[in-house]
Amino acid sequence: MQNDEIIRKINLLLVDEIEIDEEALKPSAELKKDLGIDSLDFVDLFVIIEHNFGFKMKAEEMSEVKTLEDFYNYIINRVHSN
């Protein structure tokens, strides 16, 4: 899967599943502050990513993920390392 395809897929999931406004999806947006993704939404993201990318996010690695770009990069790295 190409990186831009992964990013498109992540954006689609954030809009459809977490119901985030598409216009807010800027790479520099902070997940908590700007996108309003709270601790409960993160729990759902674990399930959504597993269903759609086939791997499980690791909670201990998420502390480094602050912005949407961090999140893209995290998923891209995991996709390519699997």
């Binding site: 409960l40 939404d41 729990v43 674990f46 499980k56």
Partner: protein, 397 residues
């Protein structure tokens, strides 16, 4: 008041169904596929809340919470309470609910398959607790008063109103959102079906629930939600709120006997305590909404209880479960709504399907047809597993 029921999705639809004696019972083939002894059930569409409530509010809301949200919206609207009032005043919630099976089943199914709790997601915990309705509605409506759930089996909704009435009478709250909710799904009813307590008159669903009839063969499970805004008289007058009725009596008791078989003496004490609490002669009660679920023993024992308390010259009686089926955790609240509708529109809804009484029910003054009636006050009975009993008396204002 607000209602989301198998005989109507709002007060107007329900009033029309009560007046015309419409049944909300269907045959659900899926239950047969699952191995149910009886596939009869009350049924109502699931509310569509996407675009109405945001995702976080929906994720933790089980189906009976969705019913309760719709019923509560109508109740707040008819009570003239908007969000700005709820934000600036202490309004509480006491709701009756005693199960939430589907989220429990689904979350454990995921765990068994995935062997990882992180794959369960965030919503199931809030959906699966018995207090799911009060916890969700208190967040959705940003309530700041008393907030808990009453679990009293098939008397849950009635006890919720009774306890709310006592809190208001004590001066501890001015306004409490009271009610009862009941999920409709096979998961919640499978173990109940196992008790041989459900009617198997599957060839004629609308005639299966037949309280007090000689040929009754069991109850029909049902569900939905019903909300009543209880408010101190002073507060309601000050706000200029429409007052549908006044709760004047609450009586409760426990049978102290069998876990599922009802007796006569327990309901007698609940009714007597309610009448004493109301401080009115029983002759001023013009209608009894019976608990009668269409089981052979339950209806017979309630008939004896009513005769014991009221004597041979008792008020008109009907069991609205003949139309709705048994709404269980919701029933005690919805039947207060049904009876209050009758009181405000001067009729008694029919106990449909009563073709032939038996020896124990023949002496009851049962409305088998829609009957014009001026109701000064009514008594509503609700009884449940464990022998819990609740009787409420509501007066016209």
């Amino acid at each position: 008041m607000g209602i989301y029921s198998v005989i109507g999705k709002n007060l107007t639809e329900v009033r029309e169904s009560l007046f015309s004696g419409k049944s909300g019972i269907i045959f659900d083939p899926h239950r047969k596929d699952l191995g149910f002894r009886s596939a009869l059930t009350g049924m109502v569409d699931r509310p569509v809340l996407k675009g109405v409530l945001d995702r976080r509010m929906r994720v933790g809301l089980p189906v009976q919470g969705e019913y309760a949200y719709i019923a509560t919206l109508e109740a707040l609207n008819t009570a003239g309470l908007d969000q700005s009032y709820l934000d600036s005043n202490e309004v509480g919630i006491l709701y009756g609910n005693d199960s939430s099976a589907v989220p429990v089943v689904e979350s454990v199914d995921i765990l068994r398959e995935k062997k990882d709790t992180m794959m369960i997601g965030s919503g199931y915990i809030f959906q699966s607790m018995n207090s799911t309705v009060s916890m969700n509605l208190s967040v959705i409506f940003r309530l700041k008063g008393v907030n808990f759930t009453l679990s009293g089996a098939c008397a849950s909704g009635s006890h919720a109103i009774g306890i709310g009435y006592l809190l208001i009478k004590q001066g501890l709250q001015d306004i409490i959102i009271c009610g009862g909710a009941q999920e409709i799904n096979p998961e919640s009813m499978a173990s109940f079906d196992a008790l041989n307590a459900f009617s198997t008159r599957e060839s004629d669903p609308a005639r299966a629930s037949r309280p007090f009839d000689r040929d009754r063969d069991g109850l029909v499970p049902s569900g939905g939600a019903s909300t009543i805004i209880l408010e101190s008289y002073e507060s309601a007058i000050k706000r200029g709120a429409k007052i549908y009725g006044e709760v004047i009596g609450y009586g409760f008791s426990s049978n102290g006997e069998h876990i599922s078989m009802p007796n006569v003496e327990g309901p007698v004490r609940a009714m007597q305590k309610a009448i004493k609490d109301a401080g009115i002669p029983s002759s001023q009660i013009d209608y009894i909404n019976a608990h009668a679920t269409s089981t052979p023993l339950g209806d017979s024992n309630e008939a004896k209880s009513i005769i014991t308390v009221f004597g041979a010259d008792h008020p008109l009686i009907s069991s609205t479960k003949s139309m709705t089926g048994h709404e269980m955790w919701m029933g005690g609240a919805s039947e207060v709504v049904y009876s209050t509708i009758m009181m405000n529109h001067s009729f008694v809804a029919p106990n449909i399907n009563l073709d032939n009484p038996d020896d124990s029910t023949a002496s009851l003054n049962i409305a088998t047809k829609t009957t014009p009636a001026e109701i000064r006050s009514f008594l509503s009975n609700s009884f449940g597993f464990g022998g819990t009993n609740s009787s409420l008396i509501i007066r016209k204002v």
